[in-house]
C-alpha cells in the first residue's frame, strides 16, 4: 500500500499524471487488454521479420512520441522516414460555431446554503435569483436556456455537469458569490477550466502506445486532449468577456469594487462539463457593503445584465446572434 503512495508521489515529481489505482478485477482486465495490444503487433512484427530474413528474433520495442521520426517497416536505415507532426491547436473561430443552448448553474441550493451574509441572506438565494434574471434576458434574446436548478433544491456537482452535458449545452455558466476572510475586500472574478499544461497527453501516448507504435485508441485520446485544450481556451475567452462586462458594469455604482480578473481552477463542474464553461464569482458576500447591495433587486439585475452582456459579446464574436428583442 505504501509502495502505491510513493509511486504516486514519484509520478508527480516526474510530472507524469498519477497512475490510477485499479481494483484487482480491473487490473487484470487492463493487463489482458494491454497484453493484446503489445502481443498482436509484436507477433506480426516477428512474423514479418521471420519471413523476410528467415529468423524469428525478438525485436526491441520502441515508444514514439509526437515529433519523433518513425521508421517505416522493415527497420532499414536507408528506408524513407515518416515524421509525425506535433498536434497543433485548432482555432475554433474557423468553424463559426454558434451558441444556441446555454445551461445556467445557480451555485449551491437546498441543504447547501453556500456563503452567508451577516443579515441572513444566503448565497444559494442570490445565485438562484441572479440566474433566473439572466435566464429571462437570454430567453428574450432567443437563446435556449436550461437551469440546473430552478428551486431551492440540493443538486450534486456531478448531476449539474451531467445535466449540462445531457442538454447538449453550447455554454455553461455557474453563478457563485465569493466569500473571503478579508472583510474589506470587494472583488469579482471569473474562473475557467485549468490547468491545461499538464503532460496528460504525453503520458497517455507513452502509456497506451508502449511497444507497439501509435494505435487508433491512443490517437483518439490524443485528439481528445487537443479538444479539451480547445475547450479550455474557449472557456478562457468566454471568461474574459464576462469578467470585463461584470467589472465594468458593477464598478459604475461601486467604485471600491476590485477586479481580480480571470483565473483557471479545477472546479468539478468545469472539469466534468463538455462545453466551454465558466464559474463566475459575481460579488463578495463577506464584505458588508457588498452584502447590502446584494439584498437589492436592482443590484442583482445589474449583475444578471452584466453576465448577459459578457455572454452575448462572446457568442456574437463566435457567430452573429440575434440581438435582444429582435
Amino acid at each position: 500500500m505504501l509502495r502505491e503512495v510513493v509511486r504516486e508521489n514519484v509520478d508527480l515529481l516526474s510530472t507524469r499524471a498519477p497512475r490510477k489505482v485499479l481494483s484487482r478485477s480491473s487490473s487484470s482486465r487492463r493487463w489482458v487488454r494491454r497484453s493484446a495490444l503489445v502481443l498482436v503487433p509484436t507477433l506480426l512484427f516477428v512474423s514479418i521479420n521471420a519471413i523476410s530474413v528467415g529468423r524469428a528474433s525478438k525485436p526491441d520495442l520502441v515508444v514514439f512520441s509526437p515529433g519523433q521520426e518513425i521508421p517505416l517497416l522493415p527497420l532499414d536505415p536507408n528506408a524513407p522516414r515518416l515524421v509525425l507532426a506535433k498536434p497543433r491547436r485548432v482555432d475554433p473561430s474557423l468553424f463559426r460555431l454558434g451558441v444556441t443552448t446555454v445551461v445556467i448553474d445557480p451555485g449551491h441550493g437546498g441543504a447547501d446554503p453556500g456563503a452567508l451574509t451577516a443579515f441572513g441572506l444566503t448565497e444559494k438565494e442570490i445565485t438562484l435569483d441572479v440566474s433566473r434574471r439572466l435566464r429571462d434576458l437570454l430567453v428574450q434574446a432567443r437563446f435556449k436556456v436550461e437551469m440546473t436548478r430552478d428551486q431551492d433544491t440540493t443538486v450534486s456537482l456531478k448531476d449539474r455537469a451531467q445535466f449540462a452535458n445531457g442538454h447538449s449545452a453550447d455554454l455553461f455558466v455557474s453563478v457563485h458569490v465569493n466569500s473571503v476572510p478579508q472583510a474589506d475586500r470587494r472583488l469579482v472574478e471569473t474562473y475557467y477550466l485549468g490547468p491545461s499544461d499538464d503532460p496528460r497527453v504525453d503520458a497517455l501516448v507513452g502509456e497506451e502506445n508502449r511497444g507497439s507504435g501509435y494505435t487508433m485508441t491512443s490517437f483518439k485520446k490524443l485528439l481528445d486532449g487537443i479538444y479539451a485544450d480547445v475547450r479550455q481556451s474557449e472557456s478562457k475567452t468566454f471568461a474574459l468577456a464576462v469578467q470585463k462586462e461584470l467589472f465594468a458594469s458593477l464598478r459604475k455604482g461601486n467604485p471600491a469594487l476590485q477586479d481580480h480578473g480571470v483565473k483557471s481552477a479545477p472546479f468539478v463542474v468545469l472539469i466534468a462539463t463538455e462545453m466551454p464553461g465558466i464559474l463566475a464569482e459575481v460579488s463578495c458576500i463577506s464584505n458588508e457593503a457588498e452584502a447590502r447591495n446584494l439584498s437589492h433587486p436592482a443590484y442583482r439585475q445589474s449583475i444578471a445584465q452584466a453576465l448577459y452582456d459578457g455572454l452575448h459579446a462572446y457568442a456574437e464574436e463566435r457567430s452573429p446572434v440575434p440581438s435582444k428583442g429582435s
Binding site: 503512495v5 510513493v6 515529481l13 441543504a111 476572510p181 483565473k263 481552477a265
Partner: protein, 339 residues
Amino acid sequence: MVAKKDVLHVGIDLGTSRSSITASNGATHVVDSYVGWPIDMVARKVVKKSVLFGKEALDNRPMLDLHRPLERGLIKEGSPKDEAAVRELLGHLISLAGAKEPQKVHAVVGVPAEALRVSRQHLRAAVKGVADALLIVSEPFAVAYGMDALLHAMIIDIGAGTTDFCVMNGRYPTDEDQRTLTHAGDSVDELLVTLIRTRYPEAKFSVHMVREWKERSSFVGEPRGSVMVTVPVNGKPTALDITAEMKRACESLVGPIVETMLDLISRVEPEYQEKVRHNIILAGGGSQVPGLSAALEKALIEVGNGRVRAVENPVFAGSNGGLAIALDAPDGDWEQLPG
C-alpha cells in the same frame, strides 16, 4: 543510504483550521493554520517579525496580509501567496519539531483529500523545499494508517473546510473509495452566525467568537444544558441563550454525512458491508461534537446497525498516522522523494 538515527521523521497534518506535527524525537506541536505577513514597514516594526503564524497572526490581523491557505480544503490556483503560506506553515512546523544539524528531515504531509485530488501539482510546488524528502498523502488515509484501520473501515474526517470520507479496502484508496463534502466546521460557523444574527440583530460578535463558542458547546441531539454566551448588545455585555441555534447549526452536518456514509457503504462489496458498518471512525475536530456518533449510529439502524467511534486525539490523529507512514516507508523510497 542515510541511517535512521540521522533522520528526523515527521508526520504533518496540514489542515484548513489547524495544522499539527508529530516527530520521531517525540515532539508534538499544533498551530492554527493562519499565516500573516506585515502589510507595510510600520506593521513590520510593530510586530517585529517578517511572518507570523497561528493565533499570533490572527491576533495581529489588522496589520497583516493574513492567509488561511487551505480555505475550503483547496489551494486556490493562481494564488502565489497561498502557496507561500503553505510553505511557510510547513517550515514553521518542522522548525518547531527541532531537527538538529546535520539531521535530515523526512516528512509525510497529510492534506485534505480534495486538495490532493484536484491540486496535486500545485501542492507539490507549494511544499517544495521544506524538507529533505517529502511524501504527500490524503488526510483520511494518514488517519487510517495510524489507527491500523486499513481493511473494512470507513474514515470520516470532519475538518474545518471539508468532510472527507475514505473507505479502506486493504489497498491504497482510489477516487471511488473517497468523497468530499464542504459541509464541515466552517459551514457550521457560518450558519451559526446567521442564526444568531437573525435572532439577536443588535448583538455584536465575530465569526472567530462563534468558532470558540462552537468548540466549547457544540452538540447534536439533546442539549446537556443551556448554551449561554456573553456579547455586547447596544454596548452592554449581555447574556444570550443560543442553545437552539447551536443545535440547528451542528445538526446541519448530520444529513449530508449520513447520506454520503450510506451511499459509500452501499458501494462496498456486499459480504464486507457489515464489517465496514461496524468500523466507522470519526476524525478531525468535528468528531468531538457530542451526540454526533450516536446520530450516525441511529441512521445506520435502517441498514442493519453499525458502530461509529471517534478518534481519541483528533488534533494529532492525522500527524501520528503521517509519522507511522514516514517510519514504515523504506529508505529506498525516500531516496526517490526529494523535498
